[in-house]
Structure formats: structure tokens, C-alpha cells
Amino acid sequence: MRHGVFVLLLATLVAALLLGLAVGPYPLGFADVLHAAARAVGVDNGAPTPGEIVFGRVRLPRVAAGMLVGAALAGAGTTYQTLFRNPLVSPDILGVATGAGLGAVAGILLSLPVAGIQGLAFVGGLATVGLVYVIAAALRGHDRTLVLVLGGVVVGALAGACISLVKILADPYDQLPAITFWLLGSLAGVKLADLATVAPLVLAGLVPLVLFRWRIGVLSLGDDEARSLGVDVFRLRALVIGAATLMTASVVAVSGVIGWVGLMIPHIARMLVGPNFSRLLPASMLLGASFMLIVDMAARSIARVETPLGILTAVLGAPFFLWLLARGRRTWG
């Protein structure tokens, strides 16, 4: 029974994965997948079928990116919610997505190649959170969590203003649509090479979260209690914020800004497996991966043109948030 939910989540992910591979503007059958697999192991040396090319160059990277982005955003969101003892915070609580957005739009304005844009997005995200952390450390003697969150709001707002400035400066026919599309998030242009860079970074962020999973849960009791229970709060919190930020900034650099996932998914996971971080983190990441596969499938299927992911997640997320507020509980899941 303890593992039943995880079996279910894993089965959901496999189903979403198979569906995600098959569904799209160019529907693929299992024959295409088998052909590609056969070629990969060197059995099939004939001319590649069109389905095979779509599978290898478009669908596979996109599905892999969907899983990675969904899992990373949900994992970071779970971590921040536990850390800040607030179920209504998201991976962007300290301004990482806004900072990454600023980096990316600056890259687009400077007409950098895709890798340059991604690099700037990554640096922008990390720099924003670093700045917030420095501000919070300078304002000693206040509630540290509150200072961090408010610092995130202030720095995020400033970065948002800078994004608006870049939009005004950008070429309205070429750069502005690219900026707008990036700020709404998409997996359409992701290549396998991007994933090869991003996946290790996400993994590097995940390692400390997994290793310190028990102590991160203890942090959810608040600074004084966690410390009196023997946790080195100051160091662990810095490490955990760094890890979750690394995960978020890495995926945002390739997918653009996709809101709501990191807020909604941890909630649903908490309803399924309870608030224990050791169980919540894997459940949330599995669910996030499935969710992103399904949303991205919708993004490429519901209209003739690509629908930005940020729009779809907002359409789902806003009512979900209102529902949470309407439940009006003092405690969560």
C-alpha cells in the first residue's frame, strides 16, 4: 500500500510517455519507433522513413525535454514549499524565472545564437537568486524567510521592468515575437544536444535534495525548531536554495518560462502521498513529468499553430489556485 501510489504514478508516466511519442501534428506509429530502435542498435541499415526522422529529430527530444522540465519544476517547487513552509510558493519565489527571462530576452536582443540565449538565461536566473540571498543576508535581525520572499518580489519586479524595457527596444517584427514566445514557454525547438547539457545540471541540483531529504523535511518546522532538533539551518538552507535554483534555472534556459507547474504539482502530490519530503519529492517529480508530457501534447495538437505552454498551464493553474483558496484550510494536504 505504501508503494501503491508510486506504482500508479509510474504507470501514468509510462502511459503519458507512449502517448506523447505517438501524438502530434505528424502522428507516429509503433512501427516508426521500432525502426528507429532497430537502426540505433545497427540492425536496420535501409533508408530512414519519414516517421523515423520525425521520431528521432523532433518527437524524442521534445518528449524527453517535457519529462525533464516537468520533473525539475515540480521538484524545485516541492523543495521551496517545504523550505518556506508555504504551500503557495512556486519555483519562481526568489525570482529565478524572471531573472532567467531577463537573461534570455537580452540574448535575443543581442541576436545571440540559441546556446548563448540559454547561457544568459541560466546566468540571469542564478544571479537573481544570488542577489536576493545577498540582500536577505544584509538585512539581519528580521524574519529571514520573510526577507527572502520579499527580496524575491522586489528583485523580480525590477527584472520584470527590465524585460519590458528590452521589449520596447527590440525589433517588433523579428525579435519581439521571439521574446514573447520565449516568455510563455515552449518545448518546440528543443534539441537532444540541449538536453545533454541541461540533464546533468538538473541531476546535480537533485543530488543534495535527495541526500538531505530528511533534514529538508525538518526545516519545514521553522528555523528555531529545526535548529534545536540539530539541523544546521543556515548552511542547509543555502545549499537547498542553491540546488533548487540550479534545477529551475537549467530547465528554464531551454523551455522558457512555464508558470504554475511548480505550484500545482507539489500540491496534488501532497494530497496523494502526504507531506513527508522523502516521499513527496519523488511523487512530485513523477507527476510533474507526466503533467508536462500531457500539456505539451496539447500544445502541439489543439491548434494549427503551437500553443505556448505558459498559456496552457495558466489556464489550468489559475482555477486550481482559486480552488485551493476556496477550500480555506489552515493546513495543507
Binding site: 541526500l211 530528511w214 535548529r227 489552515r330 493546513t331 494536504g333
Partner: protein
């Protein structure tokens, strides 16, 4: 195992709350802190627990300065029982007690079966074994307070520091919690607690410290310290300390009884 404060000055940067505080506590002793609101009981607690630095003087655990110890080392000596609160997330009572094992685990470890057995034992010892699986946020205030005491016991620290353990509990739960505190002292725990009720100090403590007017106003046996004069002075209202026919001492405000007699 001895907790000691020598010439302690407490407060926040640039704001001295109290000074010249010296006290000590050994096994089986119950030290009760009494004092008016804002006198610095909480600040003293936080300083004794190493949650904030002392402005002067030193806190010693078995002669070793607290400031030189890492949080996990402090946690193996001192267990803190905060006022019964509601957590943000719906942990089970057992989960909350298991968190007390943190200082006994290796950095990357989670509690195992042995820790869980120990946690259940501590719950059973306080008479709330049946609450283990229940939602901590939904049990009563008294049960939450007992769960937090169970968590402190799971920490296996010889000294317990309890911040107003009877605050916001009904009369029955106050008696229940005080009874458990007395039992724990008899088992050999050293206990520091703060309270707003001088009767509670008379019920459970072996020593009473009065924190008022920027420092330690008095410390000594309950009979010597909890007197009508002392209470009237620190609470700025006339108080009587009377003896009941059974020989117990109780504190009451010094106005006429409200209920007309016979």
C-alpha cells in the same frame, strides 16, 4: 549532565533585555521561570538553547561553552519543547515525534525501524500511543503538547526546555501535562520550563527563578521565592499566597471572593 548560565546578558543587538543571570540545573531538578510579560523569559530560553548568541557571560553544558558546539551536539544535550503549535503541513503525530531523531542520525540518513519503535515507545510512555497515525494538526492542543514532549524525549537529551507548556490548554490538559513533567523529573531529566501561572511553579518545580526588571530577581526553592510580596511586586497587583487544609500553597488575587458565601 549540567546546564549552567554564568553572568549571562541576554538581548538582541543593541537592546539589552537582562543581565547578571546565573543559574544551573542538574538531573531530576525542575527549574521554573516566572515573570511578567516582556520580562525576557523567551529571550533567556533562546539564549540557553543557543538559538541566539549571549551578549555577555556564557552558557555551559557540562562545562563546555554552548557557543562552541554544533547544532547537532547541542540537540543531543538539550531538547526544546515549543508551545503547542499547528504545523503548516499535515504531518502525522508519529512523523512529528520522528523528527526528534534528527540529531541522532547521520547527515544523509532517515529514521529507520529502530527509530520508529523508539518514537512509538515515547508516545506510549506519555499515554498517547493511539495517536501515532493521526494528523498532528487535528488533535487537541493538549495532545499536540504531549506529542512535542514525546519528540523531545525521542531526542534522548538529558535536559528538556519547555516554553510555557501549559499555555492555551484547558484545565484538564494543564494538569495532564504538568503531571507528565513531574514524572519525567522523577525519571532523572533536568527540566527548565516557563509559565505564567505561579501555581504551576508550586506544583512541579524544585527551584523557581523570577525574571523581572532586566534580570534575575530571585532564585531558590518554591517556598522561599513564590511569596505574596514577590508576586505582588513583579505582577504589579496584590496577590495572596494561601495554604489549603491539605497543606498546599496556592496563589490568588487579593480581592474579595466574588461568590457570596453560605
Amino acid at each position: 549532565m549540567r546546564l549552567e548560565a554564568r553572568d549571562l546578558s541576554i538581548g538582541y543587538r543593541g537592546h539589552l533585555v537582562g543581565s547578571d543571570i546565573s543559574l544551573s540545573l542538574g538531573p531530576g531538578e525542575v527549574l521554573c521561570l516566572l515573570g511578567p510579560n516582556g520580562a525576557g523569559k523567551t529571550t533567556l530560553f533562546r539564549t540557553l538553547l543557543g538559538l541566539q548568541p549571549a551578549l555577555g557571560g556564557v552558557v555551559l553544558i557540562d562545562g563546555a561553552p554552548l557557543a562552541a558546539l554544533r547544532p547537532a551536539e547541542i540537540a543531543r544535550h538539550l531538547a526544546y519543547v515549543p508551545q503547542a503549535h499547528v504545523t503548516e503541513f499535515s504531518y502525522s503525530v508519529l512523523d512529528v515525534v520522528l523528527m526528534g531523531r534528527t540529531a541522532r542520525l547521520k547527515p544523509f540518513s532517515s529514521p529507520g525501524a529502530a527509530d520508529e519503535r523508539l518514537a512509538r515507545d515515547k508516545l506510549a510512555g506519555l499515554g498517547i500511543a493511539d495517536l501515532a497515525a493521526q494528523d498532528y494538526t487535528r488533535v487537541s492542543g493538549g495532545q499536540r503538547q504531549l506529542a512535542l514532549i514525546a519528540r523531545a524525549l525521542a531526542q534522548e537529551a538529558p535536559i528538556l526546555v519547555l516554553d510555557e507548556p501549559t499555555a492555551s490548554l484547558d484545565f484538564g490538559n494543564q494538569a495532564l501535562v504538568l503531571g507528565r513533567i513531574r514524572d519525567l523529573a522523577r525519571q532523572g531529566f533536568g527540566i527548565v520550563l516557563s509559565t505564567h501561572d505561579p501555581d504551576h511553579a508550586l506544583l512541579v518545580s524544585t527551584r523557581v527563578a523570577i525574571i523581572a526588571d532586566g534580570g534575575l530577581r530571585a532564585i531558590g526553592s518554591p517556598d522561599a521565592v513564590v511569596t505574596a510580596e514577590m508576586l505582588s511586586a513583579i505582577y504589579r497587583t496584590q496577590v495572596l499566597v494561601e495554604e489549603t487544609p491539605s497543606g498546599r500553597r496556592v496563589c490568588v488575587p487579593a480581592w474579595e471572593s466574588a461568590a457570596p458565601r453560605g
